[in-house]
Assembly symmetry: C2
Homo-oligomer: 426 residues x 2
């Protein structure tokens, strides 16, 4: 099945359109998202953790700015140590000590050394550091050097780490704590990052009331709005909740229109019944071209996922069940957030190896995400994964599940005792 074929799905003999695989669906989606067009922001490094760089960050100076010792010892001219050995050491007069935080100006000459600590600036004339371990104090003013040191030994040269003008952090990089330290270290006080992607969130369904209200008989509280907002924040985006839309096409269209205009992408959830889903699909499609490009993915849970575009802005219709929402958000929405945010790398899953405690089956051609409870065990691999196969519609298994195991399209199950990779929930 080619992506082309899915774009205008073929109808089989029973009148059913074939489902896209997850990889096909994500690939078609990503090909329609243009390169990042989010605004730049300049923010202090201290606030930039987790943000994506908007352009290459160039080092404004050499690191280090001056040659420094990388070991505790004595700064010398290397050539004065040549031939030194335990039985015939070279002698050096201790002419001074390099204080931390000061730039030494007294030069080192033949037969002269300065005591120096790791990180200390090299004095003029010295080109190497003899390690403390290769010296013996002859008296308070004299040392014996028992091993030669090469020129440049135990010294990091000016600019050897990074030269002024080098790329310190590339564009499209998600800044991590150590990157933040690096930016601070070269004196960058404002980092160019993309603003956070804005995600509009809509819950749908006549039966849904806000979670702060007591639902009258027949109705239930909104679960997905808060779940999706928290998932969006974890993924580095900025969620905005646009409310609960009833199963009324006119009302839904008005809410969706506003969400699209105010957001970089929109996520709808709900519609557990076929009729409600069909109505939502018609409304979503009406914001094309191109409208809906994927209607159903061969995965479980999450099969009824809709991927649509209002111009270049993605609109996702997720199923109503919370477990399906989590899986579909991570599998389908996260890659869209990353591309929109200008993140050039790949978001990596959190994997744990565990022994499967009970066999699980899966349909061929479908990608199954089986929720697992994870428990420690003494033997390797150290963890046991227990499938949580709750009744359709159950939500209480959520807090017990530590993650899920993926059964790929080409497998029809996994046998008890196999080692599996559990993708851990954040």
């Amino acid at each position: 099945m080619t992506p082309k074929a899915i774009d205008k799905p073929a109808i089989d003999m029973l009148g059913r359109a074939p489902l896209a695989t997850l990889a096909e669906a994500v690939s078609m989606m990503l090909s329609r998202i243009p390169a990042c067009r989010l605004d730049f922001e300049e923010i202090p490094p201290d606030e930039a953790s987790g943000r994506v760089t908007a352009r290459d960050i160039i080092s404004p100076e050499d690191i280090p700015p001056h040659p420094r010792a990388t070991m505790d010892g004595y700064a010398v001219r290397a050539r004065d140590t040549f031939g030194a050995m335990e039985s015939l050491p070279s002698y050096f007069e201790i002419a001074g000590e390099v204080a931390m935080g000061e730039k030494p100006d007294r030069p080192v000459a033949a037969g002269i050394c300065h005591k120096i600590a790791t990180g200390g600036f090299m004095p003029p004339g010295a080109d190497a550091v003899v390690m403390l371990e290769h010296t013996v104090e002859a008296d308070r003013r004299m040392i014996e050097v028992t091993q030669p040191v090469a020129a440049g030994g135990n010294v990091i040269q000016a600019g050897e780490d990074t030269r002024r003008g080098d790329v310190l952090v590339p564009a499209g990089h998600r800044l991590r704590p150590a990157d933040i330290g690096l930016l601070a270290g070269v004196g960058i006080v404002s980092a160019p990052v993309r603003r956070r992607a804005r995600i509009g969130i809509i819950s749908t369904g006549d039966e849904i009331v806000p979670h702060t209200e007591t639902p009258p008989p027949g109705k239930m509280r909104d679960i997905n709005g808060l779940n999706i907002a928290a998932l969006a924040r974890l993924s580095g985006a900025e969620p905005r909740f646009h409310g609960i839309a009833p199963d009324d096409e006119t009302a839904l269209r008005a809410i969706l229109e506003r969400a699209i205009s105010e957001s970089d992408l929109v996520v709808l959830s709900g519609g557990s019944s076929v009729g409600s889903r069909d109505a939502a699909a018609r409304v979503i499609d009406s914001f094309g071209p191109p409208g809906i490009i994927v209607h159903g993915i061969a995965m479980k849970p999450g099969k009824p996922v809709i991927i649509a575009f209002a111009g270049y802005k993605p609109v996702f219709g997720l199923p109503g069940h919370p477990a399906a929402v989590s899986v579909a958000f991570n599998a389908v929405v996260c890659p869209a957030i990353d591309k929109i945010s200008g993140f050039a790398d790949v978001r990596l899953p959190r994997i744990l190896h565990a022994r499967l405690a009970r066999s699980v089956n899966s349909a061929a051609g479908r990608r199954d995400f089986i929720r697992m409870k994870v428990e420690r065990m003494d033997e390797p691999p150290g963890f046991s994964a227990i499938p949580l196969l709750g009744k359709s519609g159950a939500i209480s298994t959520i807090a017990r599940a530590g993650g899920y195991v993926v059964i790929a399209e080409d497998r029809q199950g996994i046998a008890e005792g196999e080692t599996v990779e559990v993708e851990i929930f954040d």
Copy 2:
């Protein structure tokens, strides 16, 4: 070597105390941290993502509150379908339709059915749902049922998911987005969580100036303060920077005293020279008993790590090099934060399988953390890990490293071509 032996380290023939292994050091540390004593806070679920629950959260109601359909179809009395088959269907009159979000009050009786959608409340008298696929519309008021359904079929009973009074989320659980949705779903508007652990941060060294200043010759900007603050936030704690302490025991003692009194744990960094480290160690130890319990860990980078206690509050002395700070924070400080925060589970590393691009060596008995650049490759396992073996003191490799590979104490290296587990940096 037993933990007891390390508590008062034996001295070997060369006058050196043996180093603790990482596992020994962490175990000794954790045994001294009392059970979580952080205050409770009650906060809206929407703000609780990533927080640790302070007590078991009990479901205030049955889920679902009323029996609901789990499929689209018709609500019936199951016994009226017994014996139904394609050649001899049972006939039902469609007496109504259950609207989403309404509690039906018109009862279902013999030979009567109500149309119902997934999630709809079951009408009185009905005990099963016949799937749409097992029916044929005879006319607009009548259906044929072609397969029998058992009592309870395609229905989730009141309280079947969770009963009122059941533990919904246990104490000591770090709340994830799906948990947040779950709490919202049962109408919990304030979640009992522990306040965030407070981490006091001190940078030390005469050569360090604030990162916002231009360092005069010989000095350098603070890198570790911002790195540690960002690491602390990622781990769910609240950092507070107490400034840069000079290599002066009186000044450091005053800053440390204040940091200890205002924080749940304190992290110092810096002191690249032996003299500076010794001075910091004396000051840290003076806040005992017990003072320093671990002085040096058999790991690289991070060997000079100090673990001390001022009463029951941990105080960490981390090396000055940024790479060592990152490794030591994750390996040693994070477990302390988790225990102090009341997190009852295990923080799981983010693992990626990759093929090692070049052999790396390691000393036996030491735990090595080798930084790796990670690149995609076409063959399995899909990624290549390239060791970044920068000059000691280099910091520019930080932004290029995707994570690190651990070489355990019992191995002396890893050969090119082996599949390794890369722990991905957050």
